[in-house]
């Protein structure tokens, strides 16, 4: 394990310090917590709070700012934050108009946010929660924990944050966030694993000619393993899985995200993007916006995920609204 860190147990704290020092105009740290909140919380608006384990940077705190998040709660690496921390975040950003929690569907995140929600409700804070489950790699069934939330979550932040900036009330913000969740589908793969510093070694190993398909964002193994193929073939495989789950039809309009897992050169993501565009075009689909880059990572894992968001007029215009955060900016 070769990393630019000091003591593994200090990494989270030092990262948060590094973020606040990099972006004083965007965010500040809530004292004695691992919560970063938006600088100059403006207006009497609904607040959007997200969070989860760390190691996914720029997720979550990179999305704090105008048109996205008001607070991000950071857990240890790949570990859900605890209810007390989430509760502090909620209290800090609630401006009397209520708080929307955007939670990724992991047992840990869901349970910790649930407990925080209960604490906040006891204080009389109006609070709603949406659970993002965009990962089509995992069977969605009542016999499982359901689908995971992965990179598509960033688009939910964007949609919810835009709705908030428009002055919508909590129920309306929640409703449009839920609509977007239903329309977001993602699928990922890895070329190499990653190492949690405190564990000291990777969670799985791959041969030089193997890739892992259907991976999540915590360095966990995926649904299966196969021989490496060309970028075009791998892209088509992931895309077909999304397409099988929620067919994309001719005439539909989508937003596309090609997300790098941490160690994948941007060059490779563009090569993948080239192929996905061709696949979408061949279905007669219009691609309204494309996001290529590292939006939700797994430390230094190599690999990528594809996310397709089916737009309607409302989602399209919310997606196009301005956003100004360290890691996601939309300029109109």
């Amino acid at each position: 394990m070769k990393k630019l860190i000091n003591q593994p147990e200090n990494s989270l704290n030092e990262m948060l310090l590094g973020m606040t020092k990099a972006y004083p105009e965007y965010l500040t740290r809530l004292e004695n917590t691992n919560v970063l909140i938006r600088q100059n919380l403006d207006g009497q608006k609904v607040a959007v709070v997200s969070g989860g384990g760390s190691g996914h940077e720029p997720t979550h705190a990179g999305y704090i700012g105008k048109g996205m998040l008001d607070a991000a709660v950071a857990g240890d690496i790949f570990t859900s934050p605890t209810p007390d921390q989430i509760y502090e975040a909620i209290k800090a950003v609630d401006r009397g108009k209520g708080v929307l929690l955007v939670v990724k569907n992991y047992s840990g995140d869901v349970m910790n946010f649930d407990m925080a929600k209960e604490l906040a409700e006891m204080e009389g804070i109006e609070i709603e929660q949406v659970i993002v489950n965009d990962d089509v790699a995992v069977e969605d069934s009542t016999f499982t924990a359901g689908r995971r939330g992965i990179a598509g979550t960033v688009l939910v932040h964007k949609i919810a944050g835009a709705a908030v900036e428009r002055g919508w009330d909590l129920q309306k913000v929640k409703a449009v966030a839920e609509k977007s969740i239903k329309r977001i589908h993602s699928m990922g793969m890895a070329l190499s694993p990653c190492t949690v510093p405190s564990a000291g070694k990777p969670n799985f190993t791959l041969a030089e000619d193997e890739v892992e398909i259907g991976t999540g964002i915590h360095g966990e193994p995926g649904t299966h393993r196969e021989k490496i193929k060309t970028a075009d073939e791998l892209t088509e495989e992931l895309f077909n899985k999304i397409q099988a789950d929620e067919p994309i039809k001719s005439g539909e309009e989508v937003a596309l995200m090609v997300n790098g897992m941490g160690a994948t050169p941007l060059m490779e993501l563009y090569i993948v993007n080239n192929k996905v565009h061709d696949l979408l075009k061949s279905l007669g689909t219009t691609i309204h916006r494309t996001f290529v880059g590292e939006y939700m990572t797994s430390l230094e894992m190599a690999g990528m995920s594809l996310t397709v968001l089916k737009l309607d007029d409302e989602l399209k215009s919310l997606l196009d609204d301005p956003a100004d955060t360290p890691a996601f900016k939309i300029i109109n």
Binding site: F78, T82, M111, M115, V196, A199
Partner: protein, 210 residues
């Protein structure tokens, strides 16, 4: 069975055992989850130790509540709210008791199971910590019925959890992260169940050595 200082002793011993097995628990989680379970539990239980060290407790309920809050605030992940809820539910069964009987212990296990089921929306057979806790409870309950003594009942609980843990190898995970690897989870023990077995084992050992 135990006065408050013995309860403290037993929980401290459980915390030490978790610490000693940090690496092992993490490896179990690495195989089917995200490889942090040992780290989470060790961090959480170090705060339980701190709580037990620094706090003063009027009642057993108080002791379990504060330990549970330490777990909720410091374990993180899925196991944090689950073990935390288990301790908090246990606390609720103890009210203002300053001593715990073996029947109290069995009751407290039952309440913990209910808490975990509620919080985790989970049930037996889903390859979770419940699959060590439920057989542990059942074995203990049966031993009480059979009129066994405290040490024997604690031993039955320990063995029940270990048997349950062993059985988790055969199960397909249906809750928690391990559910994502589906059939590939077969052949591996559930890390949360392993923690349960370690804790219940440590408690039994503490009292049988005492």
């Amino acid at each position: 069975m135990a006065e408050l200082n013995q309860v403290i002793g037993a929980l401290n011993h459980a915390a030490d055992i978790i610490e000693n097995n940090k690496q092992h628990l993490t490896e179990l989680d690495g195989a089917i989850g995200d490889g942090d379970h040992g780290i989470n539990m060790s961090r959480g239980f170090s705060f339980v130790k701190k709580t037990l060290d620094e706090g003063s407790f009027e009642t057993a309920a108080d002791l379990f509540k504060k330990s549970g809050m330490a777990l909720v605030a410091h374990v993180g992940g899925a196991s944090g709210p689950l073990f935390g809820t288990a301790f908090l539910r246990a606390s609720m069964t103890l009210k203002d008791k300053t001593e715990i009987t073996i029947e109290d212990y069995i009751n407290l296990l039952k309440a913990s199971i209910e808490g975990i089921k509620m919080r985790g929306k989970s049930d037996a057979g889903e390859k979770t910590m419940l699959d060590a806790l439920i057989p542990a409870y059942e074995a203990g309950e049966q031993a009480v019925q059979q009129g066994k003594n405290t040490v024997e009942v604690l031993q039955a609980v320990k063995e029940g959890s270990e048997k349950g843990l062993k059985e988790t190898e055969k199960l397909v995970a249906k809750k928690g992260r391990a559910s994502y690897v589906g059939e590939r989870s077969i052949g591996h023990q559930d890390p949360g169940a392993a923690s349960v077995a370690l804790i219940l084992g440590a408690i039994a050992d503490y009292f049988s050595e005492a």
